[in-house]
Subunit: 338 residues, 2 copies
């Protein structure tokens, strides 16, 4: 049994890892929803001066990272690592941004769970004494993701009711040994779960079982009830996936309905044609760094369980008839005692 | 400055992290080269009973992982994490294997540097007290990689002289707190370097600058000469990239020619039509876990610097005229004092 493990698989940091800077940059549609005032930057140029969606996404990634560094009062040279990824093949947004920022780079792929995965790994690296400051960042872009995973926007393919909308934007967090108002105390790395869903337009259902498993394990390991947290925040289950999560938890005897919030539901609530909610690496990254951490800084929330989920399929596996496996990583964020 | 940093960016583990199990599985062509006898398993079924290259690659990934677990005398349930990735879009080989193995999963993407990246992250997680045993694994497959990055094999497109051949196979290493004959003492996370190469058939040239930077920084940080190591092992620079690496190091006043070995050159040396060498995540993973670690276990080598390089481009960036950025991560492996 590892020295830092609590219960079955939750890991307790030896010392709190502090959140020193936050950044969130979103596109035009994301700035129409009910939490629009929380985002740092609205970037309407979704085509990066008409060059490409991919280049635009890279700019979002860089800008959110620079915003978090600025918020922390630090520069790229102060960062020991950049840890992050995105949805595009070969995580090109993160890799090319890492080239331009010139920070030692650990690229990862956890699909839409990437923000929680980045924060979990980075917290452990800082706690282990391998870094003083790490910037975690993830991005996604509706145009780039749709043409890669489903259909190019130019085809005008309608989405089924369960089809979520990839969030255009990026979020970044600077983690540090330096005390600040918010900190991470626990993390959990998820297992890959597969309930046999094979519809790429119903990813909430593919990810809900992994979210339920991770949330229930954290509650059990910490021996707490759901209301121990002011919010249990999932990344992008969307409207249908969130219902499924509540059902799965209820079947296990745990009612999380009172504290559950889904970033995908929140970001597009009431926005026309986005009924089923948002998705993508940027969904949880922007809503966490935009809304939740700012609400915590304002003293409105004291403790949240952040659980970003990822659907670990690819277009090739869908074409080859495979089902969609899901994963969920967890990070417990609290107001510091300082 | 972080507590574990030596010099500019090399990180010293507080205690050695031990190599407890190794596994290497290769395809038919890889078993024709001069180091064929070192690989654990030869798997001739490159189409996984004619289903697909991608499914075959997944089987290689799982088999190498199981081989390393078997070699360690451990089971999947003894692993705290599976850390790894592959070249395919959405790292499907690693993700689906992680589902089947049911080990908490940290997926990463460092292109062909993924084995060194996995080992570096895992060493730090173990040293930080977050895991007792981690299995690191990466894979690649010639047929799957060619059709994704360049042209489907069915087209019969000839390769230019600089075009390397993706290794079909997988390698895995079990890292542990439990003392054994080999251990990791230092790691280094690389920066992303771009020298403006934009030919997807000349990746050795795109990666050589990153390899040179990482190797020179390790030597400088540890204040040692190249012959401090019995071998400085690069992943898949191939014939042309290796020449470039030696030139770049020589220009910086450091001659590594006497100790440099490249896994890509070694695996296909003398094999017809593979003149420029091997590449892919499996190239460094199989030659490290097959040849080098076995030579170390046999007492023929005492200390190696393992530097796997990755080309962080994607087919989309090539089509959009972008250059190919490279990265190189380092791991120092020694015979233990036990």
């Amino acid at each position: 049994m590892t020295s830092n493990r609590i219960g079955e698989k939750t890991l307790k940091l030896t010392a709190p890892v502090y959140i020193r800077g936050i950044g969130s940059v979103v596109g035009e549609d994301e700035a129409k929803g009910p939490i629009k005032q929380y985002f740092d930057v609205l970037d309407k140029d979704l085509l990066h001066r008409k060059e490409s969606f991919e280049q635009a996404e890279r700019r979002f990634f860089s800008n959110a990272t620079r915003q978090a560094l600025h918020n922390a009062g630090l520069g790229a040279r102060d960062m020991d690592f950049l840890v992050g990824g995105d949805l595009l093949n070969q995580i090109i947004s993160a890799a090319y941004a890492a080239r331009d920022l010139d920070i030692p780079f650990l690229g990862l792929y956890g699909a839409c769970s990437s923000m929680a995965q980045s924060m979990a790994i980075s917290s452990m690296l800082i706690d282990g004494g391998f870094a003083e400051n790490i910037v975690c960042a993830t991005s996604s872009h509706f145009g780039a993701a749709e043409r890669q995973f489903r259909y190019p926007l130019e085809l005008g393919t309608p989405k089924p009711p369960t089809g979520q909308n990839t969030v255009t934007g990026a979020g970044a967090t600077v983690l540090s040994t330096q005390p600040s108002e918010l900190c991470i105390k626990y993390v959990q790395v998820g297992n890959v779960l597969d309930f046999g869903i094979n519809d790429a337009n119903n990813m909430g259902a593919a990810m809900a079982p992994a979210a339920a498993q991770t949330i229930l394990t954290v509650l059990d390991d910490l021996q707490v009830q759901p209301d121990h947290f002011d919010a249990i925040v999932t990344g992008d289950l969307g409207v249908f996936g969130s219902e499924m999560l509540l059902d799965l938890c209820a079947q296990a005897g745990t009612d999380i309905a009172g504290v559950h919030k889904d970033c995908g539901v929140m970001i597009f609530e009431g926005v026309p044609k986005k009924d089923s909610g948002g998705s993508g690496c940027a969904c949880s990254a922007t809503v966490l760094n935009g809304y939740f951490l700012k609400r915590m800084l304002a003293g409105k929330l004291s403790r949240i369980l952040f659980v970003a989920t990822g659907a670990l399929h690819g277009p090739t596996t869908i074409q080859q008839g495979e089902s969609i496996p899901g994963i969920a990583h967890a990070v417990v964020i609290e107001r510091s005692d300082i």
